[in-house]
């Protein structure tokens, strides 16, 4: 038992504790996903049981087939609605943010500071806080139960504007100015010079906008009335409340709702993380 040996054992002990803590936490986070998916692909009799069966005895996709064929529950329609709404909100959010970020970061517009604060102020009024006002506005515009009625409120996301704006502020202006002197129009400068340089921030903003619009429940729940306009998130709740879906059906809908965002995130995690931490590092 040399002192060196004792230190080595202590190091091994520390590593074991650290990896155990990280591993157990990862298990707690990941297990519910496993359990959700497994509950949807096993025979129904195995779902409602008080025995602990971590593995399905046989794989069975009957629930997916049943749901896709259910005339009361247009799952494919829900899925397409989610896609239209999330993509629409992403496009409107990023496009408006890019234009405004460019105008405010490159031009000294009279009133610019006021406009900046108006945009940023929307962060204080998340949809959950303005349910009533939002309902009345969308209703007055006769947009209840329409795609644009959901896309436009979901496109309000000033975080992405800030992400792009701060990124553009960090880019050198010389290129813009040189191009302007050479007679390029503003939109040409934006399209051919500034936008290519802003790509990393654009990727992050696009992903964050899509992920949050796809997940959102409150706004489509508030602003839809007929079930063929529901996105998946609302359709899943409708299934449980109105047509009394079984637990297994509800979990199958939850799986269909979850897998697209998980997949997008896993493939693009680098940009998602850099988008979230862009403004978060304080020196």
């Amino acid at each position: 038992m040399t002192p060196g040996g004792a230190i080595r054992w202590r190091q091994v002990g520390t590593r074991a504790v650290v990896y155990t803590a990280l591993g157990v936490s990862a298990f707690i986070i990941a297990f519910p996903f496993y359990w959700m998916v497994v509950s949807t692909i096993r025979p129904e009799s195995e779902v409602y049981t008080v025995a602990l069966n971590l593995l399905p005895s046989t794989l069975s996709f009957h629930m997916y087939r049943k749901l896709l064929a259910d005339p009361q529950l247009p799952v494919i329609r829900f899925f397409l609605n989610s896609l239209v709404i999330a993509i629409g909100a992403t496009v409107v959010n990023v496009a408006t943010a890019v234009l405004a970020a460019y105008a405010l970061s490159r031009h000294r517009v009279p009133g610019g500071t006021l406009f900046y604060y108006l945009i940023v102020a929307t962060m204080m009024v998340p949809g959950e806080v303005v349910l009533i006002g939002l309902f009345r506005v969308v209703n007055a515009l006769q947009m209840i139960d329409t795609y644009q009625g959901m896309i436009l409120p979901l496109a309000v996301n000033a975080v992405n504007f800030l992400l792009i704006y701060n990124y553009m502020l960090g880019l050198p202006r010389e290129l813009d100015e040189a191009a302007r002197v050479d007679g390029a129009k503003i939109r040409q400068v934006l399209w051919h010079i500034t936008l290519p340089l802003t790509k990393p921030a654009l990727y992050s903003a696009t992903l964050l906008a899509f992920l949050s619009a796809w997940q959102n429940f409150t706004i489509p729940y508030l602003l839809t009335q007929s079930n063929n306009m529901y996105p998946l998130a609302v359709g899943a709740l409708f299934a449980e409340n109105t047509i009394m879906a079984t637990k297994q059906e509800a979990l199958t809908l939850a799986t269909i709702l979850t897998l697209p965002t998980l997949l997008v995130f896993i493939l693009t995690q680098r940009f998602v993380f850099s988008g979230i931490t862009a403004g978060a590092i304080k020196g």
Binding site: H107, G133, I276, T277
Partner: protein, 309 residues
């Protein structure tokens, strides 16, 4: 002063001339201002206005002054929702931050392998719709078939708790799920901040014989101070507006014990059949003021650019 004036400067163009010069910039600003005003700023103004009227859905109804505010102050269900919201927000914020900071410190240890894998796993719930999160956990918390109680019965605890229907437990079950959903988000913020800390501090401290704990207290915590303050505020703002989890998991029950401000507002306006829009708008304004206070604090302490997702 005099010298300043004598320097030849191009005359400053008139305001309208500058505005005309920047007409393309205004054109670029128009879409965002239009959309954000119509679907965020104007709705809060509308909500504020309605809170002084006896409004029913689309009709504005008669002006009633502060009556709606007096009504919510006198309403026990409002008090309950407010209290639940404060408990939910405070409980979630404290635990989420402690857990995410601890995990971030561990993940960030230099010899830990698989950093990205851990971070990706911890982040999965953040990109999962709360509706799905609610279903997963409602299923796992099912009193008879849920895996939590099945597992508990294996270690002799039988019957297990009624996670979502026990009045004194339900709110804490929601807090638990909310923690599960958000730990990864704050972990990412903390790891980014930890990576920004200069490693030479730690090297100097170990040379001086400081152990892991004292390094954490004397170096890591003080240097993360701003990130922690910011995360506290972001957590509060985010959790104050919680809505979907309650809607999916408990519908506010049992006996209003999990009713939160946002779901209360919704139910009073659209759910009770009374369509009390004015009353509901007044309750919204209370929530708005709370969020505004914390957002203002966030702006004071740093960029509030993280309230994403």
């Amino acid at each position: 002063m005099m010298a300043d004036r004598s320097v030849a400067r191009p005359p400053k163009p008139a305001l309208w001339a500058r505005m005309f010069q920047e007409r393309t910039a205004y054109l670029f600003l128009a879409p965002i201002l239009l959309v954000y005003t119509a679907f965020s700023l104007y709705p809060i103004v509308q909500t504020f206005e309605l809170s002084f009227f006896d409004a029913k859905i689309v009709e504005q109804g008669p002006f009633v002054g502060l009556k709606n505010y007096r009504d919510i102050l006198a309403s026990t269900s409002f008090h309950q929702a407010l209290g639940n919201t404060l408990v939910f927000t405070a409980g979630s914020t404290v635990v989420v931050l402690v857990v995410s900071l601890a995990l971030a410190v561990l993940v960030n240890i230099s010899w830990v392998r698989g950093k990205t894998l851990f971070k990706v796993i911890y982040f999965l719930p953040v990109v999962t719709s709360l509706v799905a999160v609610g279903y997963i956990w409602k299923w796992m918390m099912d009193p008879s078939y849920g895996i939590l109680n099945v597992a508990l019965s294996l270690v002799g605890i039988h019957p297990g708790p009624n996670w979502l229907s026990n009045p004194s437990l339900a709110l804490w079950s929601l807090v638990l799920v909310n923690i599960w959903k958000w730990v990864g988000y704050f972990l990412i913020i903390f790891t980014a901040n930890l990576q920004a800390i200069d490693q030479s501090y730690y090297e100097a401290a170990s040379i001086d014989g400081a152990g892991a704990w004292s390094q954490f207290y004397r170096i890591t915590l003080p240097l993360l101070r701003m990130a922690i303050i910011l995360s506290v505020i972001l957590g509060i703002v985010n959790f104050l507006k919680a809505f979907a989890l309650v809607f999916v998991m408990t519908q506010g029950g049992p006996a209003g014990r999990t009713e939160l401000m946002a779901t209360y507002v919704y139910r009073e306006a659209f759910g009770t059949g009374q369509m009390r829009f004015g009353f509901s708008a007044a309750a919204s304004m209370v929530l708005f003021v709370m969020i505004m206070i914390f957002t203002a604090l966030a702006n004071r302490f740093g960029k509030a650019g993280e309230v994403a997702l």
